[in-house]
């Protein structure tokens, strides 16, 4: 396979984890609350386990080898003995199961006949029991995005993990409030890796899930993972793309990174290197007088330095097939994921402060030629010892191009190595929960609860309320469609105005410094009511909201403070009559043609504080009465 297999070669499998809106957690009766304080804690370590089919799991062994202890913080308002792994799980939350089944049906996926809850081994500490409870609810099926069919692999109901609060050399800290909250996971078949298309699929997926009305909203309630692979190549799992707009960036970054790794493997091929056999040696003594600040710092601390010799990789560790893509960077990330500061490799010895003489001494000691790359790993002995085999494995994989890995997405839309990709052997039955049969009657009951297709709903909003597509989608996405419809029907205000006040104005005003939190639904409804009842004109709304939002005034107070209250009808009549009286002669002279002059005079006297349409109507009425009288 060559790197000439350009952009089309990339396939992206989207995996979305969506928190469900539920009154209780999935396997206990705890409410779903994000706690701020944690008055209690306990400390545990997790051991690897064996799966049903025999054999052990590489990712599990990796985590155990890091052997940190886990500190769990908890608050009785948001977790109980079940989350503390001190009590068996309670029966599966029926509400959660139904939500997952609805999600499956909404995406065109097929429900299984019997739901089996499994234990998925996770020993990074984020599950107190050492596993996540998870069950497949839907298999296969598909939906369409922009006319392209997107296959669904599975729809799964599972519990969320504990929140990581921090980590240091020897321990990790977790909060148990989030552990056990119901999630639905949707895994899609790989689609062509066009970044914009992937983003569209993710957007559609999010909307379809929200159409069920059973999902939680807010920051962090939906997480996106991507499985990226070049045609037929190993799959790289990228976890935790929090914002939709980062998806295209992440896809681009992975494309570049993976193609770069393939180019490196091709280069090795050109050099005739089919296999890399690394060796490692403790060079703490040799590095004793090193000029490299980085190495010296580690040595001073009682650390050790190990040199890994990688034959055939000389010059290829620092080589960049594409900007910022380097084998050295990959290897350094593995080191950092294992609590080491990084690595020093031979392609940058000079830059890192190692002189030619020092390098020569090192190479002599290691019996290594220039064609070999040397990677120095420095740090505390137990960490270095744990890390070296992993670095060797990574280096030796360079010949095959892209290794299967689990990587984390960064906030900048890049990816970083997290851990080896786990095998499928880390699952076995959750024997504390009986299997659940999805009976025919349950299916029938469900059929009545499948929500309106989101695209159909958007089209309806457009049609019924004469909204633009853009505004209709915004209303749909905002989850205020019910309130929008209610307000539009109740108030004497154009629906497009209602819509724009609900979903456009707040973000516009936010850019002018008005906090969005101050413009909640109540405030927006109130200002709309004021417009609907004629208390103020729609043109005054932005200023009213600005005053309310940034000065903490109520809508009423803001209207008065700004002086934008409209004159009531009787007041308008009064002014119209007095103006008509004042300009009697003009009316006598010009009749109906005096209208615009009179209109101007009335508005001047009202100081513009009237709904022009109302004034015009009243003026015309009165004028017609007067001139009509005259006419006869």
């Amino acid at each position: 396979m060559t790197s000439q297999l350009a952009a089309d070669g990339i396939r992206v499998g989207l995996e979305v984890h969506q928190q469900l809106a539920s009154t209780a957690k999935l396997f206990c009766s705890c409410p779903v609350i994000k706690s701020e304080e944690f008055p209690y804690h306990f400390e545990r370590k997790l051991r690897p386990a064996q799966s049903e089919l025999g054999g052990t799991d590489p990712a599990a062994l990796f985590e155990f080898s890091k052997a940190k202890s886990n500190l769990y913080l908890w608050n009785p308002e948001s977790s109980c003995l079940v989350e503390a792994d001190e009590e068996p799980p309670h029966p599966l939350n029926g509400e959660g199961l139904e939500s997952a089944m609805l999600a499956a049906k909404t995406l065109g996926s097929n429900l299984v006949d019997e739901v089996h809850v499994m234990r998925k081994i996770v020993i990074d500490g984020s599950n107190t029991s050492g596993f996540q409870r998870t069950a497949v609810v839907g298999l296969g099926g598909s939906f369409r995005v922009d006319g392209t069919q997107v296959g669904v692999q599975s729809v799964t109901l599972e519990e969320d993990a504990a929140r990581i609060l921090g980590e240091d050399e020897s321990s990790r800290r977790f909060a148990l409030d989030r552990l056990g909250v119901a999630l639905v996971e949707v895994a899609l078949d790989p689609v062509p890796g066009d970044p914009e298309f992937v983003a569209k699929v993710a957007l559609h997926l999010g909307r379809a899930l929200r159409s069920t009305g059973r999902v939680a909203r807010g920051l962090g309630t939906i997480r996106q993972d991507l499985n990226v692979s070049l045609m037929g190549g190993k799959v790289v799992e990228v976890k935790g793309v929090q914002k939709l707009n980062l998806l295209p960036k992440v896809v681009e970054y992975e494309k570049k990174r993976q193609l770069g790794l393939i180019r490196i493997s091709e280069k090795l091929g050109e050099r005739g290197v089919r296999r890399i056999k690394c060796r490692a040696r403790n060079v703490t003594k040799v590095m004793g007088g090193t000029a490299s600040k980085v190495a010296r710092r580690e040595l001073v601390d009682g650390g050790k330095v190990v040199a890994v010799v990688a034959p055939g990789l000389g010059g290829l560790i620092g080589w960049e097939p594409y900007p910022d893509v380097r084998l050295g960077k990959e290897v350094a990330e593995v080191a950092r994921a294992n609590s080491l500061g990084g690595i020093i490799h031979s392609d940058e010895f000079r830059r890192q402060g190692l002189s030619e003489a020092e390098e020569a001494r090192l190479r002599a000691e290691l019996q290594s030629e220039v064609a070999d790359a040397i990677i120095l790993v420095a740090g505390r002995p137990p960490m270095v010892d744990r890390c070296v085999p992993l670095l060797i494995a990574r280096l030796e994989e360079a010949v095959s191009g892209v290794p299967a890995e689990t990587r984390a997405a960064t906030e900048a839309g890049e990816t970083r190595y997290m851990r080896p990709r786990p095998g499928s052997q880390r699952m076995y039955p959750e024997t504390d929960i009986p299997d659940i049969t999805i009976t025919a009657s349950r299916r029938a009951e469900l059929a009545g609860k499948v929500p309106e297709d989101w695209q159909a709903k958007v089209a309806r909003l457009q049609r019924e309320y004469s909204l633009s597509e853009d505004l209709a989608i915004k209303i749909y996405d905002s989850d205020l469609s019910v309130e929008f419809e209610d307000l539009s029907r109740e108030l004497n205000v154009e629906p497009s105005v209602v819509a724009s006040v609900l979903v456009d104005l707040p973000s516009r005003l936010a850019r002018e410094g008005v906090p969005e939190s101050a413009l909640g639904l109540e405030v927006l409804s109130e200002v709309l009511r004021a417009v609907g009842s004629g208390r103020t004109a729609k043109e005054a709304v932005p200023d009213i909201l600005k005053a309310a939002g940034s000065r903490g005034l109520s809508v009423s107070e803001a209207i008065n403070a700004l002086g934008v209250q409209l004159a009531g009808e009787s007041q308008v009549r009064g002014v119209v009559d007095s103006v008509l009286q004042k300009h009697r002669h003009v009316i006598e002279e010009k009749g109906d043609a005096s209208f615009s002059l009179l209109m101007g005079e009335v508005m001047k006297e009202l100081r513009g504080k009237a709904d022009g349409a109302v004034v015009s109507k009243i003026l015309r009425e009165r004028l017609t009465e007067l001139t009509g009288k005259k006419a006869t």
């Binding site: 386990a49 025999g54 001190e86 299984v112």
Partner: protein, 440 residues
């Protein structure tokens, strides 16, 4: 013949037709598409309508056979088995500790029969699951028997006690017994009586969270138990289980005053009315009570017989007196009553107990309050019980009392001698002093 354990009815026929066995990779056609996966066993209480496939992703799904159009064996598979790596060689100069396995969840696997957790069968499992043991002692694991502890009987206690005696003769520095937590307290009491004067530590350990899960408390308890068994300066029978919900401390409880007070928590075991015997931390003993018998004391003459025909009855309001009569008619030789409060029962029951005693039975009184001592001198009911011949057992735990009566009746020749032994404090089963503020 194909191995299709657990499948029955329609699903069994379906699989037979496809010539499929557990472990084969099966491809089935549903109304909506093809599903491929490994056929895994069906739990014995599952219905006969579904087949269970383990997908490539590792998930199990159940599919209704009536909705399956066809099935095809894609590949003959490996039957699920468990590979156990050999244990590391122990470091030199370490004490010798025998680990007697009796069942329980220290080392267990998934049982396909019921879908529940079941004790492991190979002794290599025990050691290989906890390789740290090699740094603590030269351990010699052995499976004596393999039952859920609710199925343990006095004959099992006898077996364990005899094995411990042999271990002492063989020169073991200590013995650890792995046991299910449900009746661990009973067995600890039994061994405390049978092995009075034992010159080495005998430590019972269990696990509240099954060992198939990474969070199991079993390994920590086992390591502490082995460390105590091998290195402690004291002797006697103790229970070693978590102290608190963290993994940092293990409590050692005296065998006659320990009780399982929670169905599932790691720290379920408590010492009732006495301080802890010892506390073990990550690097060894952190606290040892001064009143424990020293290691290597002289006399050790185990008496390992137990009389099975003893009943433990918890009195309750409206308990029919005829219940006592019915138990007597079974040939019961001894009865321990958990009375209310200071050791009370209803009038009718007092009468029946009297009849039991008159017929030669041994009847003893403890309290279902768990904390505190019985005193049959305070109220009329108590005095009536004394008059009837019921033996008050001070602050002995009901479960311990049951075991003691079984042991006493198995190791005495006269009722008089039996009563004497019942009221003597043989293995710390009663205390003479209690204090305010002790946790209930």
């Amino acid at each position: 013949m194909e191995d299709l354990a657990g499948y029955k009815g329609g699903s069994l026929n379906f699989l037979k037709k496809a010539r499929a066995s557990i472990g084969d990779v099966l491809e089935v056609e549903t109304s909506w598409g093809v599903v491929s996966g490994t056929l895994v066993p069906r739990y014995v209480y599952g219905d006969g309508d579904h087949v269970v496939l383990k997908l490539h992703s590792g998930y199990n799904v159940g599919l209704d056979v009536s909705g399956l159009k066809s099935a095809r064996v894609k590949a003959k598979g490996e039957k699920p088995s468990f590979s156990v790596s050999p244990p590391p060689r122990p470091s030199k100069g370490l004490p010798r500790v025998l680990i007697i396995g009796t069942g329980g969840t220290i080392a267990s696997r998934i049982d396909y029969r019921t879908g529940a957790v079941h004790p492991a069968v190979s002794s290599a499992d025990l050691h290989s699951l906890v390789p740290e043991l090699s740094g603590v002692a030269k351990v010699q694991p052995e499976i004596l028997f393999n039952v859920f502890s609710e199925n343990v009987r006095p004959s099992h206690w006898t077996k364990i006690a005899q094995r411990v005696r042999k271990a002492v003769e063989e020169g073991s520095d200590g013995v650890v017994i792995t046991h299910g937590t449900d009746t661990l307290g009973y067995t600890a009491a039994a061994l405390s009586f049978a092995l009075q004067g034992v010159p080495v530590p005998v430590i019972l350990v269990g696990a509240q969270r099954s060992s198939d899960r990474p969070s199991s408390d079993g390994p920590i308890n086992l390591i502490a138990g082995v460390s105590a068994a091998g290195t402690a300066g004291f002797a006697g029978v103790y229970v070693a289980m978590h102290l608190g919900e963290s993994d940092d401390k293990v409590a050692l409880h005296r065998g006659t005053r320990v009780r399982k007070n929670h169905t599932s928590r790691r720290d379920a075991f408590v010492s009732v009315g006495v301080p802890l015997a010892a506390v073990w931390g990550k690097s060894g003993s952190e606290y040892v009570s001064e009143d424990l018998p020293k290691r290597g004391s002289s006399s050790f003459a185990p008496r390992t017989k137990f009389e099975e025909k003893v009943a433990l009855m918890k009195f309750y309001p409206s308990m029919p007196a005829s219940l006592i009569k019915a138990v007597r008619k079974l040939g019961t030789r001894g009865m321990v009553i958990e009375g209310t409060g200071l050791g009370h029962v209803s009038k009718g029951v007092v009468k029946e107990l009297g009849l039991f005693i008159d017929a030669g039975g041994l009847a003893c009184m403890t309290s279902q309050c768990i904390g505190g001592r019985v005193d049959l001198n305070v109220y009329d009911t108590g005095r009536d019980l004394l008059h009837a011949g019921v033996l008050p057992l001070d602050d002995m735990l009901g479960e311990t009392a049951l075991v003691k009566v079984m042991w006493v009746l198995g190791n005495s020749h006269s009722l008089g001698k039996a009563k004497e032994m019942m009221v003597a404090n043989l293995a710390g089963e009663t205390t003479s002093r209690s204090f305010p503020g002790e946790p209930l």
